[in-house]
Symmetry: D2
Amino acid sequence: MSAPSSGSAVHQGMPAPQSGARIIRGGHGEYRVTDLEAARHFYVDLLGFIETERTADALYLRGYEDRDHHNIILRTAESAGAGPLSFRVQDDDDLDRLERYFIQEGLPVRSIDAGQEPGQGRAIRTQSPAGLPLEFFASMERVERMLQQFDQYRGAQVMRFDHFNCQVPHVTAEYRFFAEGLGFGCSEYTATDGGPEGQPEQLWAAWLHRKQNVHDIALMNGIGPRVHHLGFWLADTLAVLRACDILAGAGMVESIERGPGRHGISNAFFLYLRDPDGNRVEFYANDYLIADPDWEPIRWSLDDPRRATFWGHAAPASWFDEAAHCESITTGELLPTSAPQLVDRPQHVT
Amino acid sequence: MSAPSSGSAVHQGMPAPQSGARIIRGGHGEYRVTDLEAARHFYVDLLGFIETERTADALYLRGYEDRDHHNIILRTAESAGAGPLSFRVQDDDDLDRLERYFIQEGLPVRSIDAGQEPGQGRAIRTQSPAGLPLEFFASMERVERMLQQFDQYRGAQVMRFDHFNCQVPHVTAEYRFFAEGLGFGCSEYTATDGGPEGQPEQLWAAWLHRKQNVHDIALMNGIGPRVHHLGFWLADTLAVLRACDILAGAGMVESIERGPGRHGISNAFFLYLRDPDGNRVEFYANDYLIADPDWEPIRWSLDDPRRATFWGHAAPASWFDEAAHCESITTGELLPTSAPQLVDRPQHVT
Amino acid sequence: MSAPSSGSAVHQGMPAPQSGARIIRGGHGEYRVTDLEAARHFYVDLLGFIETERTADALYLRGYEDRDHHNIILRTAESAGAGPLSFRVQDDDDLDRLERYFIQEGLPVRSIDAGQEPGQGRAIRTQSPAGLPLEFFASMERVERMLQQFDQYRGAQVMRFDHFNCQVPHVTAEYRFFAEGLGFGCSEYTATDGGPEGQPEQLWAAWLHRKQNVHDIALMNGIGPRVHHLGFWLADTLAVLRACDILAGAGMVESIERGPGRHGISNAFFLYLRDPDGNRVEFYANDYLIADPDWEPIRWSLDDPRRATFWGHAAPASWFDEAAHCESITTGELLPTSAPQLVDRPQHVT
Amino acid sequence: MSAPSSGSAVHQGMPAPQSGARIIRGGHGEYRVTDLEAARHFYVDLLGFIETERTADALYLRGYEDRDHHNIILRTAESAGAGPLSFRVQDDDDLDRLERYFIQEGLPVRSIDAGQEPGQGRAIRTQSPAGLPLEFFASMERVERMLQQFDQYRGAQVMRFDHFNCQVPHVTAEYRFFAEGLGFGCSEYTATDGGPEGQPEQLWAAWLHRKQNVHDIALMNGIGPRVHHLGFWLADTLAVLRACDILAGAGMVESIERGPGRHGISNAFFLYLRDPDGNRVEFYANDYLIADPDWEPIRWSLDDPRRATFWGHAAPASWFDEAAHCESITTGELLPTSAPQLVDRPQHVT
């Protein structure tokens, strides 16, 4: 895999990965919650996630479009935080390819037997160069798809998982792991403007995808490794507005952190919510298709006011300051974080 | 009260009524159902009406915007059919004025004591010249308005009652009762085109209002007296589409009779449903404001394809053929009907 | 007319007015603009208002539902500011009644001949006790209604004028003029919480209506007399979102001041825009019907976070600080303002 | 490539193609029109397609999400009809692979030089076993993407091309060409119910995809080869409704053939339009993501009333009877058609 072409911070198109693995899409995320019942009320009763299974310490939820067992796991813990970011791969061979690649790169590897996680086949886990806990699986138990059971729709009617968004101190290094090692294409990216004395632009954030829309994972410059949010797909903008109404109607306005609004990046209509433990989810509608192999990434300047919110509103400081710390795949303890290498927010957010 | 100006089938503006009564708006309708539990499943579980009260033989339901006790009554009976069309008046004096007027006009009058209907104050009933059972009340018990309890919204999220639509054999006579006797203004109307030998146009249907939108009651030429449908207001077009999805998802596609579509008349987005007994309800969004006293009624030709469905689709024959027979206000028996004076449907519906 | 009942800051229902006038609805507003061509680009090209007439120094625009000649006037002036708030009355007799009433109350009166304003019949003007410039007219030239000319819809598809919102230093006094003098009913209101030593609550803002929705004019405590915004009605929430997209797409994000969001008060979905001169307009969808004479006003506490924005977002400081100064009806000069009697914003906006 | 597993009419997942070609997605369609100006009015002025280029005899249009030069070609001809169905492939090697495969299969091949079609690189054409004219290209000229130029949005705001829908006399044979030869996966399919004497089910229609949603091409049993419609993607259901309003507002109700409604198959919200020459386009929103390689096709019975229209409405007979005849890739003449092998519509459409 060649480096980005001269003068660009990112590759054009979807690189052939050094690992040789065929990653399909982001599959599901995991949040730590201190009160499983409060989490169930938020995610299931109010937002309308479908409960597939409940164990002694965890909830496995899915959306209305899902055939898979779950798209988010909520697990009891002593504090908020994020478990593995789990990606679907083509088949079991890809798990072997990934294991070899991670070992070669000096990254830790942990095997997860089929059934160790309810509904999920064999999986492997690693910790990315920046410390993000990653999981890869090739199969999941099929459950009833509720897409046309409209009489049972509730809440904000989340359709499916869409993406992970993570903060890392050094975006360029993490970007190269995902692009060159794992084969993610870059749909859009944010760069700092070059310096007055001829310094080159630097990669501030990158939206990376394997499935055919804007992203499966975004990497943003910030204190990290942290999971900034799990992004879920809704069918239309009105479903996003409904989430606001439901939460406010239930007296939980404090869970509405930012939005609704439109992102300049991705063009999507967005809303950011904080669950009762402060873990962040994004509800997201209306981005666009990227199917072609010669997609040219869209560049945004960090200080363009339409970049983050196309309508010009600044994000609140909490949106930059707060995010979920990540678990170690070996100990389950939350990992320490480091300061970012670049300024951590646009000039207009102070 | 003067007659319509020369050459027009309808009055301009809102006539000063001979009765002197100040009618405010259509308030609630009543349908006879043969299986109260099946009706509850349709109206409450699927369509999302709010159940205010249940008695031994009847359900009293309301919408999300309502402060009043109910906007529809479903009452157990041996066959389908329609009970009184109930209108809110300004205050109790208006009930006295109406009583005097109906007696003077030779119409039957029946007094209903406060509380005889759950949640409703004193009322009077009559039978219109065409035989429609009418009720008038001045006060209703106030219940909790659910408008901002978005976390409890269900189904198609009916907001409020909007209008009655009735078939009568002789529209012109019934129109004059509502316009000149009761003070209803005409927003839009349908006329037959004048005949080849100079016959004048004839009034085929009229949309009549007291509140400030297109109608509280519509009168259509047809076998009558019959209640064609009760119309309910929804907040937007997507709520109308949701009703279709919910019913189809629940395996009840046969209850979707016509629509969704846009009416040329009224400009509203509509959907016609049949309850398990065949009684018809309309879900309706997006008409327009008529506040001005000099509103000039909009004339439509019966055979204009955009009149009934702005997008050109013909209504099914059942929409013209079938409607609820009306109860006598004295015996509760269903009244006989007569054939209409004019052709009962446009040429393009055969 | 009796005062509000003991313990309440506002009347219940719609008072019988001392003036005897039958005001129908808010009709149109007028803004001063320094560059008529820039204003035309903003209101017509981008937002989609329909241009009815252009004179040497003014534009007369309307919405897609309007039959009347205009619902907003944009007039060239040396600075931004607001001309008369113009209300439709029942007929010419009401103009006479109002003239007598204003003279009796010691308010200035100015007669406007028919045709002096393009498209408008005879009118009279006054200055309210707080100094708001008011106009009343009984007839307006009828123009083509574009409601079903969907092929010609552009921009945010403004349907009609909805309301005026004004800041005045002493809300209680101005409220009594509109309620007791002019017969406006109160739909909702904001009161300060009573003081610790038994001080009564004070009226901070009132939403007042003559037509059958939440308001034709709102009065808010603040530096005044100032016109805070002109409110326009859109058919649905998506039309409101479209306004944001259009302005951002055209590179005018700075014109988006607040929203989109839902008001707790009125339940409406809102967006506040600033025209090129800083005059403010609100786009507004989905409030509710108030037809009944016994409507009980809804009380909100000033510091309830869901009052102004149901989803909890605070309004920006500019939304409280900035508003259009008002013209004198006699000189056309902008009037001086006074400081408000109460705190001018909630505690959470600082 | 193995045959479908025993007992199923279709393959599970996306087969490895015999041709070895990597087809990316359906790219653009071509319709013959007898009056280019009338076609431009319909597609550009009313429906809002963006005009990229106009030559002496053709229009090249695109959608708001497109970076490519065009997604539909309208070409002057003596009669209505369909030109090539054009698919994007990964790169030029795939054109070579396809050429070898078509020759090996005895299918005609025609080379199209780069630039022969405005904006398009080298391409090859063939005629499918059923006679559908197919084109494959690897590159297209990049033009300005209008996605965030919301101020320039018009009409129904078509975002992108989605799929071809074709009628062929023998679906099973054509399905095997697309699945086994070209590597299309099957998302959903319609089968006839098995006969009373143990006859197996037969494939009546198949929805086939390469990109990650329900289809790039659908094959339906019917008189063929014919192009039934070109399907375009819209951002939401309201954009679909807007198309109806625009056409009706412009007095072209006769161009609205079927819908709006929801398909059981694909779950999408649909509308079928006929252009001034009778060529059919579908506007389409809200299907679902298929990214996983182990997708199990969804089976529908031909006579399930929710299959074609989830809400139960039957399609009009014209929808089954009429479709565009196809051009020969060698002569440009319209090809003769054959009768279908199976019954050509459900029992409830007669």
